[in-house]
């Protein structure tokens, strides 16, 4: 698989002159390959958002380099590189500029000098992909949080990015809004093979990814499939996260003396184990 983006031994400090301060990102390396869904998880202050800013050149590392399509990111290729990455941020109310949904999606296209005819088609296509094409002339502030984030995703998609970056994009949404956005991303992936990088501390969101990077205090603590990462168990809690729901309940059941064959990641596995180990006897 071709590499889209990589960080190579990247170190960044907000206060490089202060020897005693901790690096926000400390010698981190990873690569994102085409078609993957990667999740970066970690506690508040673990370096997740700094990584996002390093990826799109809002910050530059003091050591190491960031490569976009194998080219080191620098002042000269900054704008071109950014156009390959669509970003959706945390607060749905802070990223609207247009007076209507379709104006908003068109904004970045206009900035990039896309011809009008092409623009109309791209706006419609992008909104159709997130199932918001019924809302072309709606005012953004009348939409729900989940709908706003879907429009934000459409705005990113309209630029035909190589990579969609979700920076805590579901953390301010109600449970329905969160489910709506994640469903949209899953459908997009299934239909278009879009590459996704999501920065999150929602473990249920991370479980949808192909690969998870687990950050702690600026360092990459572990990298692996969701199952491998969640097998770290109490380390997750120690580093400010939580256990996935089914795993937490498996542990509590075993503590209560309920025999189980193992500890489970999914609700279905846990229910099945409870059935075979206990009730179906």
């Amino acid at each position: 698989m071709p590499e889209i983006l990589s960080l190579n031994n990247v170190t960044f400090s907000y206060t490089p002159e202060d020897q005693n301060s901790r690096n926000a990102v400390d010698n981190v390396s990873f690569a994102v390959e085409e078609g993957e869904w990667i999740a970066i998880v970690g506690h508040n202050g673990s370096g997740k958002s700094t990584i996002a800013k390093l990826m799109n050149g809002l910050l530059f590392p003091q050591q190491g380099d960031v490569r976009v399509l194998r080219e080191p990111l620098c002042e000269e290729n900054l704008w071109e590189s950014r156009s390959l990455m669509g970003m959706v941020f945390q607060n749905p109310d802070n990223q609207f500029v247009g007076a209507t949904v379709q104006d908003d999606v068109a904004f970045a296209l206009e900035n990039n000098g896309i011809p009008f005819e092409d623009m109309v088609k791209r706006v419609h296509d992008a909104l159709e992909q997130v199932k918001m094409n019924q809302f072309l002339d709606h005012e953004p502030h009348h939409l729900s949080g989940g709908q706003k984030q879907r429009v934000a995703i459409a705005g990113a998609l309209a630029l035909k990015p190589k990579l969609l970056i979700l920076d805590e994009a579901t953390s301010m949404l109600d449970p329905q809004g969160r489910a709506e956005v994640l469903q949209t991303v899953q459908t997009l992936r299934a239909e278009t093979g879009l590459t996704v990088l999501s920065i999150t501390h929602d473990l249920e969101e991370a479980m949808l990814a192909d690969r998870v990077l687990f950050m702690n205090d600026g360092k990459k603590f572990a990298e692996g499939t969701p199952a491998e990462i969640f097998a770290l168990g109490d380390k997750l809690v120690e580093f400010g996260l939580d256990l996935p729901f089914a795993l937490k309940l498996s542990k509590l059941l075993q503590k209560e003396g309920v025999p189980l064959m193992g500890q489970h990641m999914s609700e279905e596995e846990l229910v099945n184990d409870l059935w075979t180990s206990n009730f179906n006897k």
Binding site: Q176, G240, E256
Partner: protein, 290 residues
């Protein structure tokens, strides 16, 4: 301190072409020392109602009793300072309200505005900083040099420094990591018990409402439509669906277990710990029978 809403309606931009009614004849009581959760779909009126609890908004009709103060529609209420001191609101993302040069000054700002002496305000700030889980050395730092989670704690300390009797929390953990969420919610619960506060939690998190609240009020399209203990509220899934709400994940999982067992458990379990204990109990009973 009790808070009572009687037939409260509220319209934004009343008397203009943009008038929008947000509350319709809302009636409810919040008795002293209780922990209330207010839940409801986005746009149900939760945020509008919370601003009535310390008279930031006055009802367009009806009346609000806040302790012995009465706020009536159409009448200008004077000297609301005492009300604002007694009812502290922690807004969503309260760290956006930080402004002082140092953490110490920021926490002292509220109480000194309400006439507390400088020494007393300082003493409160020192005590609160450790209560909200921050090291003493943050007091002399600029709040803007702290991490997001730490800033949130400073802002919360600023509200607590006014020594309120009622504390209103609007999504207090939005954007925090799981440990931060748990620490903050546990801290509020401990304060609620130790200081005999009245606590009102406005939230999207059914899990927090289930775990901490004595009573839950559901808002839907500007009206309070249902009130009851968490066990009662989360029992009736069909009704919740009508209000576009889902029970907490633990309750949904309990339904799967009940489906597998073929009979219901003896109660609606509100936390993971409770459900694990309940399942263990059922298994012990079944084994004893066979």
């Amino acid at each position: 301190m009790d808070i009572k809403l009687q037939q409260v309606s509220y319209a934004y931009a009343q008397g203009t072409p943009f008038e929008k009614r947000a509350l319709f004849d809302v009636d409810f009581d919040i008795p002293s020392h209780t922990y209330q959760a207010i839940i409801g779909h986005t746009g149900s009126g939760k945020s509008t109602i919370l601003q009535h609890f310390n008279a930031l908004l006055r009802p367009t009709s009806g009346e609000v009793h806040i302790g012995d103060r009465l706020i009536v529609a159409g009448k200008k209420a004077k000297d609301l300072k005492a009300v604002r001191q007694k009812v502290g609101i922690v807004f969503q993302f309260p760290e956006h309200q930080l402004f002082e040069e140092t953490v110490l000054k920021d926490i002292m700002f509220g109480p000194m505005n309400f006439g507390v002496s400088e020494e007393e305000a300082k003493a409160r700030a020192r005590q609160l900083v450790s209560l909200v889980g921050l090291p003493d050395n943050v007091l002399e730092k600029s709040p803007f040099d702290l991490s997001g989670g730490q800033m949130r704690r400073v802002a919360i300390a600023g509200v607590l420094a006014m020594d309120p009797e009622v504390i209103v929390l609007d999504e207090p953990t939005a954007g925090l990591d799981p440990r931060g969420q748990k620490e903050i919610m546990d801290m509020f619960y401990q304060l609620h018990q130790e200081r005999h506060l009245t606590t009102i939690l406005v939230t999207h998190s059914m899990e927090d409402a289930a775990r901490y609240a004595d009573n839950i009020v559901i808002m839907h399209e500007g009206k309070n439509v249902l009130s009851g203990t968490p066990r009662v509220i989360f029992k009736d899934v069909a009704t919740l669906k009508n209000f576009r709400l889902e029970p907490p994940r633990i309750v949904r999982f309990q339904h799967k277990i009940e489906h597998m067992m073929g009979h219901p458990l003896s109660k609606v379990c509100l936390t993971e710990e409770e459900l694990a204990a309940e399942i263990a109990q059922v298994l012990r009973e079944e084994r004893a029978e066979s």
